[in-house]
């Protein structure tokens, strides 16, 4: 028997890695379901392929329109939009973080009684479910066009994000320290200040920096529904077919997002 001949019996006995989903029934059900879904999804896909094919040539012209990016002609509009975005980001992060702390304390099961816990969890759920854009639509309808609507939107979204993560962190603290503070006869607020806050502070600072970064990214799109910021300027540029200005705005956004991301991850490394 030559060594190279295929040995069916040995191949059958050969070790194979265990599959990701252990139960074969569930595994094949998922594969089958996925296949069925893929067929249905692709089957109901309404794509105008003729238009899409035309788009490639159009896209080339479009990309060509991007070059060279024009920072100068509309620099006042760009600066204005950018200032709106940046101020919106700062104020909404401060307000959002300040409001999220009481909500987080209320949403931590080890600190809050059940009714308050449920109330705070409900606030978090509402704030997290809806896209910023949808909340912005409602705020724009209420307070009118402009950066104030964007600021309120981002503050509201910040509450859900921060409160959820901080509440989880509060629930994970080392109980011994809280108990030690409690044993000194500390009041509830003293317990918060000396037993809980020092334990969650690094994460609080890290998450705030991260949220600042997210809020800037989001502020760049809120303008699409009239909530101010650089997105407004970008949308106007697209509407007027000023693609070179749009390219400049996109470059500015990417640059600031990069700077924000690096500084926020630097802050997080520092405090954690």
């Amino acid at each position: 028997m030559s060594a190279t001949a295929f040995d069916a019996a040995a191949a059958a006995r050969a070790w194979r890695p265990p599959p990701l989903i252990a139960s074969p029934l569930l595994r094949y059900a998922i594969y089958g379901g996925a296949l069925l879904y893929a067929l249905l999804a692709v089957g109901t896909l309404e794509v105008n392929w003729a238009r899409a094919a035309e788009g490639l040539e159009r896209g080339a012209r479009f990309i060509a329109g991007f070059f060279p990016p024009d920072f100068v002609t509309k620099r006042h509009d760009i600066m204005e939009g950018l200032m709106e975005s940046l101020t919106m980001t700062v104020v909404s992060t401060v307000i959002g973080v300040a409001l999220s702390i009481p909500v987080a304390v209320g949403a931590a099961r080890n600190l809050a009684p059940l009714p308050i816990y449920l109330f705070c969890r409900a606030i978090i759920a509402i704030s997290r479910t809806f896209q910023e854009i949808i909340i912005a639509i409602v705020f724009v309808a209420m307070v009118g066009f402009g950066p104030l609507a964007g600021m309120l939107t981002l503050s509201f979204a910040t509450i859900g994000f921060m409160a959820k993560l901080i509440a989880e962190d509060i629930e994970d603290i080392a109980e011994e320290q809280a108990e030690a503070v409690r044993a000194t006869g500390a009041s509830w607020f003293q317990l918060l200040a000396w037993g809980i806050l020092p334990q969650v502070k690094p994460r609080l600072i890290g998450l705030s920096a991260y949220r600042l970064d997210i809020n800037f990214r989001e502020s760049a799109v809120l303008g699409l529904v009239g909530a101010g910021g650089i997105g407004d300027t970008l949308n106007t540029a697209f509407d007027r077919y000023e693609f070179d200005t749009a390219a400049a705005i996109l470059i500015v956004i990417i640059a600031i997002v990069l700077a924000a991301e690096y500084s926020s991850s630097w802050i997080r490394r520092k405090v954690q």
Binding site: I133, L224, L250
Partner: protein
């Protein structure tokens, strides 16, 4: 250790030195001043008469939003199905591109640290910096309104997300398993398939499902810029001030997001 003297010359422990106190106080003051200045800027661009009117406007809006137009739901099932398809197919596209990209970007699997890795990191960063709505805005101009633009927008935004988190997982793998497989005389592709991929599969599945969950949310608003899905109906209803229909759309979005979050939490719980 910061210690001060009380009136009768007894040492008293303090949290910070006097200089430290001033530094902290100064930092808070600077932060507050920045926030106030930013708010001043926003306030200058706000028509306050509209804002004072907001409670009335809000009450009016709520009154017009209820009761929801329940029968309108019949029209919404197809757009909702489209929305889910945009999110799912977009995520699949992102997985197909992002998975190999992650291996090219991770510094322990990349073919070239000097050439391939920086290019991949640049692609990942650009994909992540631009919000999917902005991607959609651009793609709608290129490919025309419709689902294709939505799928590509979701895909392009998610590539960076999936590739970034996956390459971080690849960089954190257990080296000893790689060594063990290498010691059997395995070739590079074999090491990849038997030592690296199995280690990151759970994380990768978790990341993909997490992104799918986010994409469901994002896909609900892509229609605002014409990229298909339920956002198109939302835009049409808002433009015609048909607020009961808007409420119905919100309810449907809420339901879908809650279900997708539940699915994603279950899957992540199962694989991690």
């Amino acid at each position: 250790m910061p210690v001060s003297r009380t009136a009768d010359d007894l040492p008293e422990w303090r949290r910070r030195t006097t200089a430290g106190d001033f530094a902290v106080w100064g930092a808070w003051l600077a932060g507050l001043a920045l926030t106030v200045a930013c708010f001043e800027f926003i306030s200058g661009r706000t028509i306050w008469a509209f804002v004072w009117d907001a409670p009335t406007q809000g009450a009016d809006l709520v009154q017009r939003m209820f009761p929801p137009a329940w029968t309108y739901a019949d029209v919404l099932w197809k757009p909702m199905w489209d929305t889910i398809n945009i999110a799912t197919l977009g995520t699949l596209l992102a997985i197909a591109i992002g998975f190999p990209m992650a291996f090219l970007a991770a510094h322990n699997t990349t073919p070239s640290v000097l050439f391939v890795r920086p290019v991949m990191l640049f692609l990942i960063v650009s994909s992540r910096s631009i919000n999917s709505l902005i991607w959609a805005l651009i793609l709608v101009i290129v490919f025309g309104p419709g689902m294709l633009a939505g799928i590509l927008a979701i895909g392009l935004r998610s590539v960076g997300f999936i590739a970034k988190l996956t390459y971080e997982a690849i960089e954190e793998i257990d080296r000893t398993q790689v060594e063990a497989v290498t010691a059997t005389g395995a070739s590079n592709p074999q090491v990849l398939a038997w030592a690296i991929v199995p280690q990151i599969m759970p994380a990768f599945a978790g990341i993909s499902v997490f992104r799918w969950d986010i994409n469901i949310r994002e896909a609900t608003v892509l229609g605002l810029v014409g990229a298909g899905g339920i956002g198109m109906q939302l835009q049409a209803s808002i433009n015609t001030l048909a607020w009961p229909q808007v409420t119905m759309i919100f309810i449907l979005i809420l339901g879908t997001v809650v279900v997708s979050e539940w699915v994603s939490a279950r899957v992540r719980h199962a694989v991690i």
